[in-house]
């Protein structure tokens, strides 16, 4: 993940606009990346994500062959031979979980990146052009925010042919609006800064102002929006697949849960069939959330938990 260092861009921006606030009024900020890496929450989150990334990449080596193949006795509880037990069909749950990480993480990150990108384009354009364009784009954004997401997901998925591609497209359609709103409000506050006005007066191209002047100053909020979108992507994908609206032949955490529920794991006591995939989703989402909070804390010092806060009797 490459994140533009905002302290550099802030310095650049101040150089561009001589009328900006004098440097003395603003404490020099440490680099975003360095600040994040020194944060305990972020380190924990990054470590968990790294672990899952490695497992996802190495799944074909760790559990060779097709994980859906029936290789064992059905509904075996965890044992040394099958660490996570076997499904009601006789598949190895550990292999399914490891291979599931590939699809789930891939879809989650693709959806996260695409939804953030759409939101960024809409939000920054909205804030930059203002007036009619802003009204129009904000209207569309607000309408999409308001239409209940999961029912819309279900309807869209029911009409489109099933498959991973459909899941990705559907999740982008329902997921971009939230990021557009957040990014627009941030872009608006930067839009009103003097250095942007200076760029407009000097006749810079709108695209250049949007991407070279405004965007670099939004690095931290873009990153936290992206992380939130990935969480949304992984969770919503699992939900859709759990409902049987994904491609049930693909192995992912969502389809693992779908099959566990379909095979009656809840009622036969086969907890090992549905616990691992759900736990993995939660761990990844939690890790992403931790990194996200760390980004917030580093960029917004007021949120930092200090031991010597207000003490009242």
């Amino acid at each position: 993940m490459s994140v533009t260092n905002p302290s550099e861009t802030v310095a650049l921006a101040t150089a561009d606009a001589p009328s900006a606030a004098p440097a003395s009024s603003r404490r020099p900020r440490r680099g975003l990346l360095r600040g994040i890496l020194g944060n305990r929450k972020a380190a924990f989150g990054a470590a968990v994500l790294l672990l899952f990334g490695v497992v996802a990449l190495a799944a074909p080596l760790l559990a060779p062959g097709n994980p859906s193949l029936i290789t064992a006795i059905a509904s075996q509880p965890p044992s040394l031979e099958h660490l996570f037990g076997t499904t009601a069909k006789g598949q190895d749950v550990l292999a399914l979980t490891m291979h599931g990480a590939r699809t789930s993480l891939l879809v989650g990150f693709v959806v996260g990146a695409a939804a953030t990108l759409v939101g960024l384009l809409v939000g920054v354009a909205s804030a930059y052009f203002g007036r009619v364009i802003d009204d129009l784009l904000s209207l569309v954004t607000n309408v999409f925010l308001l239409i209940p997401g999961l029912p819309l997901l279900v309807i869209l998925a029911a009409f489109l042919p099933p498959g991973i591609g459909t899941v990705v497209v559907v999740l982008i359609i329902t997921g971009w609006a939230g990021s557009a709103r957040v990014l627009r409000s941030q872009a608006l506050s930067i839009r009103s800064k003097d250095f942007v006005a200076a760029a407009v007066v000097t006749g810079e191209h709108p695209l250049r102002i949007m991407f070279r002047e405004i965007l670099p100053n939004m690095a931290s909020i873009v990153m936290s929006t992206f992380l939130a979108c990935v969480i949304f992507g992984i969770g919503a994908q699992a939900g859709l697949e759990f409902l049987g609206l994904g491609d049930a032949s693909v192995v992912s955490w969502g389809t693992n849960l779908y099959w566990a529920s379909n095979d009656g794991a809840l009622f036969t006591g086969a907890w090992w069939a549905f616990v691992p995939s759900g736990l993995c989703i939660a761990l990844v989402a939690f890790a992403l959330a931790m990194v996200n909070y760390a980004v917030d804390e580093v960029t917004n010092p007021r949120l930092r938990t200090t031991k010597k806060g207000r003490t009242r009797a």
């Binding site: 239409i147 997401g149 009409f159 809840l266 989703i281 909070y293 009242r312």
Partner: protein, 325 residues
Amino acid sequence: MRFIVRRLAFYLLAFWVSITLNFLLPRFMPGDPVTRMFAQASNKMQPEQIEQLRQLFGLDERPIWQQYLTYVQNIFTGQMGVSISRFPTPVSEVIGSQIGWTLLLGGTALVIAVVIGNLLGILAAWRRGGVLDSVFPPILVFVGSFPYFWLAMAALYLFGVVLGWFPIRHAFDAGMMPELSWTFVSSVATHLFLPALTIVLVSIGGWMLGMRNTMIATTAEDYILMAEAKGLTNNRIMFRYAARNAMLPSVTAFGMSFGFIVGGALLTEVVFAYPGVGYQLLAAVQGLDYPLMQGIFLTITAAVLVANFLVDIVYVRLDPRVRVS
């Protein structure tokens, strides 16, 4: 007043977009839903059903704008067609018999999560770095990371199957008739407990952290210092001065989250076979009952829009600044 009228216009527009979406989806999607339905149930279909499907999906020969006008007209007169899987029950009747359960489940869970979450947030912010502030948020964020439906599955397995404390399916005991009696109400309550609990658990962390962060910003305001200088009691400053003002973003979030709760309730309903519209929506999808699917989608959208509008009206009462601008 102008604010309210503008908001109303916005919600009408949003509703129009979802109606149009509903109209366009089956007409422009790859793959013809009618063919799919024929393939699945051709031998079981009645001639009237086939005729109805043709009309619904624009297989009649009229130009598209005429179909659209008829479609919009039908929706505003409550005619959403006839359910295919429950032929010949009208879609509106199927939905009418189930929307109450969804509102009960989603509404109960939402209110409980909002009240407890906000209270925790207020207390955590008031004592920054205290026990509440350092222990609860990480736990709640972790619990909130679980998918709604997975937590529902785990709760159903643990408290329903293994321990047997709560019923695992439906909204009330089999063989009961809905009536206003103590036995029926208590049956509904025990069936409601687990699904509502899982939704509360997943959503409470968001409420707590949101409230905590706005409270922290509010406690830095000058009027809090002023209130302290006046020597007011702590509780009074906390609730009447700080929390009252920090509540405003929560009010908006309350309206927005109504939509998410309906979505969350959908999955929870499926896990617990709770007879709400979410459970019915999945059944409609599985039975390729497109009229019912679309009807449920529109109903949920309308409910979310109405809830948001009501929240807007409340907001105007709470925050006078909205009226001025």
